[in-house]
C-alpha cells in the first residue's frame, strides 16, 4: 500500500494517454457487457428450460402443426405425467415493431405445466371464465401500459382479421431470466374463429416423471408416431429453446468473434501504453534499482500500474453497461430478458484483470531485467 501513491503519480504522468487507455478499455468492456447481455437474453429460454419437460413438434418443421388427438395418446405413454399444447399466433399489436410472442394455449393444462409463471389465483379464474381473456407477462403489460380489464385488439397475420382480447391476468417469472413478455389466450377461441388449421396444435409439451427418463421417452414418442402423416420430433425443452434461438443465426459465435477481436485490440492498446511507459522511464527504473528496489518490486510496480488502468477502465465500462441495461429491452420486444447478471459483470472484471496482467507482463519483465548500468547510461 505504501507504494500506491507512487504508482498513482506515475499513472497520471501522461494524463491524456492514461485517460485514453482507460477510455478504450471502458468502451471495450461496455461493448462486452452489451454483447453478453444480448447473448444471454437470446438464450434465456435455454438457461431456464425445465429438465423434466420435453417438446414435441412436427418432424418436418416447427411451423407445421400436429393433430389435437395426440394429446390423449401422449398422456397414455409410460413416464409421461402431463401433456399440454400451444399454437403460435403471430399477431401484430398496432405496429409490427411492437413484437411480443402470442400463443393460443390449452387452458386446462398450461398453468400446471409451467409453474414458474406466477399468476394470482383469482386472475387465473377470471381468465378461464372469459374465452376472449388473455394472460400477459409483466414486461409486455408494462411496455404497453396494459391493466387488468383492458381490451386489446391484435391483427392476425396467419389467421386474418382483428382479434380482440380482454386482459384477465398478468404473470411474473419466479426466476431471473424467466420470459415475462409472453401473451397467452384460449386455444378454443382460436379454434372457433380460424378458417383453417382446425383440429391442430403447434407443438406439445409433456412432463416426464424423472428427467433421467427424458431420452427414453423422447425416443418412444417419435417411434409411436413414425410412418404416420404427422411424424414427430421430440427433444428436451432446452434443446428446443436452443434450436429456436439458432433460427436467427449463430449469435454466440458472432458475439464471441466480436468479443475476441475487441479484447485482442485492447491487449495491443494497453500493452502499447505500458511499453511506452516503461521505455520512457528506463533511467528512473535504474534509479529505483540503485536505491535498493529489487527486480521483483520493479516488476510488481509496473504490473500494478497496468492492472489499475485495466481495472478502472473495466469497472467504468461494466458500470455503464449495467446502467444501460437497467433501461430495459432497447429493441422493443426482441430481448425480453435484457439483464446484465452479476456473474457476467464478474466475468467482465476478470477479463479486465487478465488484460491488465497480460498487457503489463512484457513491459514489466523488461523493467525487471533492466541492468542498472545500462539504464543509468540513458539519462
Amino acid at each position: 500500500m505504501k507504494f500506491l501513491p507512487f504508482v498513482l503519480r506515475n499513472l497520471f504522468r501522461k494524463k491524456t494517454r492514461t485517460l485514453l487507455t482507460v477510455g478504450s478499455i471502458a468502451v471495450a468492456l461496455f461493448l462486452f457487457g452489451l454483447l453478453v447481455t444480448i447473448e444471454t437474453s437470446l438464450n434465456a429460454g435455454i438457461d431456464v428450460a425445465g429438465a423434466d419437460r420435453l417438446v414435441i413438434r412436427n418432424r418436418t418443421s416447427l411451423i407445421m402443426p400436429l393433430p389435437l388427438a395426440y394429446q390423449e395418446r401422449l398422456r397414455q405413454m409410460p413416464h409421461i405425467t402431463d401433456a399440454t399444447f400451444a399454437t403460435w399466433f403471430g399477431g401484430v399489436y398496432q405496429d409490427e415493431r411492437n413484437f411480443f410472442p402470442q400463443f393460443a394455449v390449452d387452458t386446462e393444462t398450461y398453468r400446471q405445466m409451467f409453474p414458474e409463471f406466477e399468476i394470482p389465483d383469482q386472475q387465473w379464474r377470471d381468465f378461464l371464465s372469459d374465452q376472449e381473456g388473455a394472460v400477459v407477462g409483466r414486461v409486455t403489460a408494462d411496455r404497453f401500459g396494459w391493466k387488468i380489464g383492458d381490451r386489446v385488439p391484435i391483427q392476425g397475420t396467419i389467421w386474418p382479421g382483428t382479434w380482440e382480447f380482454n386482459i384477465r391476468a398478468i404473470y411474473d417469472g419466479a426466476r431471473t431470466g424467466d420470459d415475462e413478455s409472453l401473451f397467452w389466450f384460449h386455444w378454443k377461441y382460436l379454434e372457433e374463429r380460424r378458417p383453417f388449421g382446425k383440429g391442430t396444435v403447434g407443438w406439445y409439451t409433456v412432463k416426464v416423471d424423472d428427467p433421467d427418463n427424458a431420452v427414453v421417452v423422447a425416443r418412444k414418442v417419435d417411434e409411436s408416431f413414425a410412418n404416420s402423416a404427422w411424424e414427430t420430433s421430440t427433444e428436451t425443452e432446452k434443446a428446443f429453446a436452443a434450436g429456436f434461438a439458432k433460427q436467427i443465426g449463430n449469435i454466440r459465435f458472432l458475439i464471441l468473434s466480436i468479443g475476441a477481436v475487441v479484447l485482442f485490440t485492447l491487449l495491443l492498446v494497453t500493452g502499447n501504453t505500458m511499453a511506452m511507459t516503461v521505455r520512457e522511464r528506463v533511467p528512473e527504473l535504474g534509479v529505483l534499482k540503485t536505491l535498493g528496489f529489487t527486480d521483483a518490486t520493479v516488476l510488481v510496480l509496473v504490473l500494478v500500474e497496468s492492472l489499475l488502468i485495466a481495472c478502472v477502465g473495466g469497472v467504468l465500462g461494466l458500470a455503464l453497461a449495467k446502467l444501460f441495461t437497467l433501461g430495459g429491452d432497447p429493441t422493443g420486444g426482441m430481448l425480453p430478458t435484457f439483464y446484465l447478471a452479476p456473474s457476467e459483470m464478474l466475468l467482465g472484471f476478470a477479463i479486465a484483470v487478465t488484460v491488465g496482467l497480460v498487457a503489463g507482463s512484457v513491459p514489466a519483465l523488461t523493467a525487471m531485467r533492466l541492468r542498472i548500468v545500462d539504464a543509468l547510461r540513458r539519462v
Binding site: F6, G292, T294, A296, I372
Partner: protein, 239 residues
Amino acid sequence: MVTINGAGHGLISVRKLNKVYRRGSETIEVLQGLDLDVEQGDVVAFMGPSGSGKTTLLNLLGGLDTPTSGSVTVGGDEITHMSGGRLAAWRARHVGFIFQMYNLIPVLTAAGNVELPLLLTRLSKAQRRKHVETALTLVGLADRMNHFPRQLSGGQEQRVAIARAIVTDPSFLLCDEPTGDLDRAAAGEILDLVTSLVRDHGKTVLMVTHDPLAAERADVVLHLDKGVLVEAAAKAAAS
C-alpha cells in the same frame, strides 16, 4: 587513510578487481587488477580521462555492476558474490548515490523523492515523514518539501538528491560528477554540504569528478588511467 596497494583493512577493501567488456570479438579491459582500501570517514576523489574506468569502479563499489574477477568487501560483506535481491537490500542499507544529473523522479515532490529509499524499510508513515524532514532540513530545503523537481534550481535538485542519499543513514556515499551540471556557485554549495556531512556525520565519500575544485575537497585524489590507479595524493598523510 587510503592505500592503493591493498595493505590496509578499511571500510572498503578492493582486491585484484578486473572488469572486462566484450563487444563482438573485441575485448576491452576497463579495470585491471585494482587494489584499494578506504577507511571510514575518508573523502576520496577519482580523477582521470574519459574511459579510464572511474564510473565503472564506482558502479562496482556500489554493487550496481559485477566485476569479471576480484572482490569488493564493504564493512566485512563481500558484495561481489551476492545475489541480485541481497545486493539490492545491501545497497538500500549501506550506499547513498548522488548523480551528475540528480536523477530525481519528476512526478514526486522533494519529500516524495527523499522518501523513496524509506519505502523499502519497515518505518511507519509518520516515521518516514520525520526522517524526510530531517534530511531536507540538513540540506537546507525544509521549505521546499512540497516542490516538484521542475520547480527547483539545479543546485536545489542536487541538494534533494543528497537528502535522498543520506536519509537512510548509509555507510558511504558514492558521487558520480556531483557538480558536473552546476555553475560554480552552486557547485561550491554542494561541495560545502558534502564536506559538512563528512565532518559532522563521519560519512565516507567516494567521488568521481573532473572538477579540480571538487578534488581539492578530497582527502585523497586517485588518478585512473586505462583501468589502473597511477597516482595517489594522500593529502591527509602529507599534512
